[in-house]
């Protein structure tokens, strides 16, 4: 099997061969094929710009791999800020000896995910570090999108609905199962995917706020929202649409599923009038039938940003994730 060697990152002929033979083979497009030091791009109006690094272990997991993840993660950060993703950069940090077959698989995922998100990889970089100095492959990305959201009517009010776009926590459980640390087995898939279907929400009246659920899980996103907006969210545990595998794994390991990471789900806050329209859209064709309204915005209370009404009917403070639930999940 062909393996990555140090010469690929050297800047010389082997690097050129690698870029043309491997990278361009998968990702080639008009801009990238020029192999210029910078990509020259055109956009309209205001842009959104984001960056992210991916150090997940293992690199391949049910429902995706680091290639799917790096594109989905980057475009999702743009989408939830109200921007249509257009361009991404891709920097590979490879460990000497990494299998070329695996790299092919990752780059195929990058290409497929980029196509489904409607973005192009327009610039990139490759570095190789000596064996033992990295864990196979790390990826850094940046993304550019054009802002499409309206800026009016986005003030958060009491009674606004807090909506989750599908079952949270699937990515966290898929990665845990793939790591085989707890001898868990199951056919659970990561939800890792670009959230392009959420873009039209930004054109709907009454849609006020959006954020994708990543590390820290649903609870952390809700707390961040409340702190940012100076309100308190009352969340109903019984309404959160966890999938059965997420419920089971959380139960067995004693983990709170509200903190399990996702990579293809988001929280949307909308006015009470708009909530049904948003839910109809989210549950519609090609959407997620599990999309649910799970909480409401209440006036700010000093004791808590978020209050959880438990399945048992008790109330308690819900806080952001403290410490690390699962390391290297994205």
């Amino acid at each position: 099997m062909k393996r990555v060697d140090l010469s690929i990152g050297s800047g010389g002929k082997s690097m050129r061969d690698f870029i043309e033979g491997v990278v361009l083979k998968h990702l080639g497009n008009h801009t990238l094929n020029g192999l210029q030091d910078s990509a020259i791009l055109s956009t309209r109006g205001t842009i959104a710009f984001t960056t992210d690094s991916f150090v997940i272990h293992p690199l391949f997991f049910p429902g995706g791999d680091i290639g799917t993840l790096c594109i989905a993660g980057t475009v999702n950060d743009l989408i939830v800020c109200g921007a249509r993703p257009l361009y991404v950069s891709l920097a590979l940090i490879l460990e000497e000896g990494f299998g070329m077959d695996d790299l092919d698989r990752v780059l195929t995922s990058v290409k497929d995910t980029a196509d489904s998100a409607g973005v192009e990889v327009v610039t990139g970089d490759t570095k190789v570090v000596r064996k033992g100095e990295a864990d196979g492959l790390y990826i850094n990305t940046a993304g550019i999108g054009e802002v499409v959201r309206r800026d009016d009517g986005r003030e958060i009010r009491e009674g606004d609905a807090v909506i989750v776009t599908g079952s949270p926590g699937d990515h966290g459980v898929a990665v845990m199962v793939a790591r085989n640390e707890f001898a868990l087995e199951g056919n659970v898939c990561s939800d890792c995917a670009p959230l392009v279907s959420l873009l039209p929400l930004w054109g709907m009246e009454g849609v006020k706020w959006m954020r994708d659920i990543t590390r820290g899980g649903l609870a952390t996103v809700i707390c961040e929202f409340a702190e940012e907006m100076g309100c308190t969210v009352l969340l109903e545990e019984a309404l959160v649409p966890f999938s059965p595998p997420v419920r089971c794994v959380a139960e067995i390991l004693g983990i709170e599923p509200l903190y399990l990471p996702s990579e293809g789900k988001a929280v949307v806050v909308a006015s009470p009038d708009a909530a049904d329209v948003v839910l109809d859209y989210l549950r519609g064709p090609g959407g997620c039938p599990e999309a649910s309204a799970i909480g409401v915005v209440r006036p700010k209370r000093v004791e808590a940003s978020a209050i959880l009404k438990t399945v048992s009917g008790g109330y308690r403070v819900l806080e952001s994730l403290t410490g690390e639930l699962l390391p290297r999940i994205c």
Partner: protein, 366 residues
């Protein structure tokens, strides 16, 4: 069996109403100690702890968190061993390794050349690690109550039978009934009843607590870990109080028998010797610890001693595990001591009262 029914609002609410009615009949605030940290977790994570307090029922957390009651001396001895001795793999449960000790938490220290710290989820992993590293000494910081002890007993028996010579134990295993006696003898806490641990009782059986009812006249019940299970246990204790009797009842019949699990009990008896043990907060409690055969004892194998005595200045974990202080009574709670930077074991363990109160116990005047 779908256990979700045991936590749904409809049923739980009906049980809470029954509790309210019983307390009404008794006519005063009732104080019950839930011995096991997992019960504390059930109560607070479901929001029941706060709800019960409002209707006149105080749940007091007891000594049932193995991490919390392990004295500093044992942790410090394990820390010194892996820091100073080359070629040692120190294995233990994650929480145990995060407890701040006199030097620093085991997880944070720098092991000696060729030594390392290994987090295990199940005792049997110790045998796997030992077989995979025959040239190293695997030292198992073995903490736990009767729930975990049979698993540790299996490790000891396997090592003896298969002649695995590179495993030894730093003994921190404890049995649950003796500290209950210590709490009752101390008499500094008014207790109307006990909720006995569910999983410990699967092993030792409910009759192990008979002395509490007969010698001290204090009612009690074994409960399971779903919110409704806990309420069934509380109701059983409240009925005993109302009727003026003291008994040991089982409100967790799907798992617990009066006589316990004979196989597990025999394994424990075969492999371990009962002896005095030091508990954080209590000092030495007679006949409350379990010790492996001399040949597998890390303390004698490496000539180390477990000194006692050290606690963070101002840390009241010792009083918290005895039920005489609430986490909120401690000056460090939530200030110097938080789950990210714990100063005492009760803020480290998922069964620790301080962590549970910090995460789930904030008052909500709704």
């Amino acid at each position: 069996m779908d256990l979700r029914i045991l936590r749904e609002e409809h049923g739980v609410r009906a049980l809470v109403e029954e509790v309210r009615a019983e307390i009404g009949t008794i006519g005063r605030e009732v104080q019950i100690m839930e011995v096991c940290g997992t019960h504390t977790m059930t109560a607070y994570r479901s929001g029941l702890g706060l709800l019960l307090r409002k209707i006149g029922m105080r749940l007091i957390s007891g000594p049932g968190c193995p991490v919390c009651v392990t004295p500093d001396g044992i942790i410090a001895a394990a820390a010194r061993l892996v820091q100073e001795r080359p070629g040692v793999i120190l294995a233990s449960f994650g929480d145990m390794l995060r407890v701040p000790a006199s030097d620093c938490a085991i997880m944070k220290l720098v092991p000696a050349e060729g030594s390392s710290v290994h987090v295990i989820y199940s005792p049997e992993e110790v045998v796997e690690v030992a077989k995979a590293n025959p040239q190293k000494e695997v030292v198992f910081l073995a903490a736990g109550f009767e729930t975990t002890v049979p698993g540790i007993g299996w490790v000891v028996r396997t090592c003896l039978r298969e002649g695995i010579r590179n495993v030894s134990l730093i003994p921190a295993m404890k049995i649950v009934p003796p500290p209950l006696k210590a709490i009752l003898d101390a008499g500094d806490l008014r207790l109307d009843g006990f909720i006995y641990p569910g999983h410990v009782s699967v092993i030792i059986g409910s009759e192990a607590y008979r002395f509490v009812a007969e010698q001290y006249g204090v009612p009690g019940a074994v409960a399971g870990f779903e919110p409704a299970d806990l309420l069934f246990g509380i109701l059983s204790v409240l009925r005993q109080i109302r009727e003026g009797r003291a008994d040991v009842e089982i409100a967790y019949r799907r798992a617990v028998k009066p006589e316990g699990n004979g196989l597990a009990k025999r394994l424990m008896e075969d492999v371990f010797t009962v002896g005095d043990a030091e508990w954080r907060g209590f000092g030495t409690i007679p006949q409350s610890g379990l010790y492996p055969p001399e040949a597998l004892c890390a303390l004698s194998r490496f000539g180390i001693k477990a000194d006692s005595g050290w606690e963070t200045n101002g840390c009241r974990c010792g009083e918290v595990v005895r039920g005489i202080a609430e986490p909120e009574d401690c000056g460090l709670f939530g200030k110097g001591c938080t789950p990210e930077r714990p100063l005492g074991p009760c803020m480290v363990s998922y069964e620790g009262s301080c962590l549970i109160h910090f995460k789930y116990g904030k008052e909500l005047p709704l």
